[in-house]
């Protein structure tokens, strides 16, 4: 394995495959932190206001796809005086390196941040070999 390989392990795909459903809704690429621990790759994706039931995390051996739709912020009867928050759906794809256990991906949603943990397969985990 080359040294450079690791930084390209997970990278962003483009949105070209994504199709818009609601024309008034903007599809946005959410900000994300991606890091590698000895046991897993972790994604932390900002998805404020997303409707929890709409969150989808799908993974196969090559890519992991995250999507979700932001819920309605205001009652129909409220008069909007001022708006900066875009009506949106979130979509982002991450390419996965080999040696991950895509079938054991876990996700949780906390304070508007989606946290996805992709465990490494046994042979990929960092192991320290004791020197005798």
């Amino acid at each position: 394995m080359t040294k450079n390989n690791n930084s390209a392990l997970i990278r962003r795909d483009n949105n070209s495959l994504a199709r818009r459903i609601d024309p008034t809704e903007k599809r946005v690429t959410p900000a994300a932190d991606v890091f590698e621990t000895p046991e897993a790759f972790v994604l932390r994706v900002d998805m404020p206001g997303v409707d929890r039931d709409s969150i989808r995390v799908t993974a196969d051996s090559a890519r992991l796809e995250i999507s979700g739709k932001a819920g309605t912020l205001h009652a129909d009867t409220a008069n909007v005086l001022f708006t900066e928050i875009v009506k949106k759906s979130y979509y982002r794809v991450f390419n996965l390196t080999s040696g991950l256990a895509a079938d054991r991906v876990e996700a949780e949603f906390e304070n508007g941040v989606l946290i996805v943990v992709i465990p490494k397969s046994e042979q990929r985990k960092t192991k320290t070999i004791p020197i005798r």
Partner: protein, 137 residues
């Protein structure tokens, strides 16, 4: 100095915001603004803000001199030992923004809720400011 949105009773136009966001002239530490919506209903105004990754413990809301002030700081969650960072896009700098309150808001009854990265501040109108129907006899 906080970002000030001019205009009365609340924020009159988007225009007043431009150029004033993301600026904190008095302080060496930069404070960021965050996007908000403001709505008005019969009995209250509501301010809704997008603030992912912040807990209510790391946030404060106060009323000072007729201004509603929202401050907070998104704290870093901390990388576990042996972490290699591949992409770091979320920001952890302090946030602050202030808003001129309409006079009819009853400041003593302001309530706030933070859920799923969305802050909602309810700004009830004072009794006498609410619309009343006048019966014709």
């Amino acid at each position: 100095m906080f970002v000030r949105i001019s205009g009365s009773p609340f924020f009159d136009t988007m225009r007043s915001l431009e150029g004033s966001v993301n600026r904190d002239a008095d302080s060496s530490s930069r404070k960021s603004a965050f996007p908000v919506d403001v709505t008005e209903s019969e009995n209250h105004f509501e301010l809704v803000a997008e603030l992912p990754g912040i807990t209510k413990e790391d946030m404060s809301i106060s009323v000072e001199n007729g201004m509603l002030i929202v401050r907070g700081e998104r704290k870093h969650y901390g990388f576990p030992e042996g972490t290699k960072v591949l992409r770091h896009e979320t920001r952890t700098n302090p946030i602050a923004r202030s808003f001129e309150l309409p006079e009819e808001v009853d400041a003593g009854r302001i309530a706030a809720e933070l859920k799923d990265g969305i802050l909602r501040i309810q700004l009830p109108k004072a009794e006498q400011a609410r619309p009343r129907e006048i019966k014709i006899r």
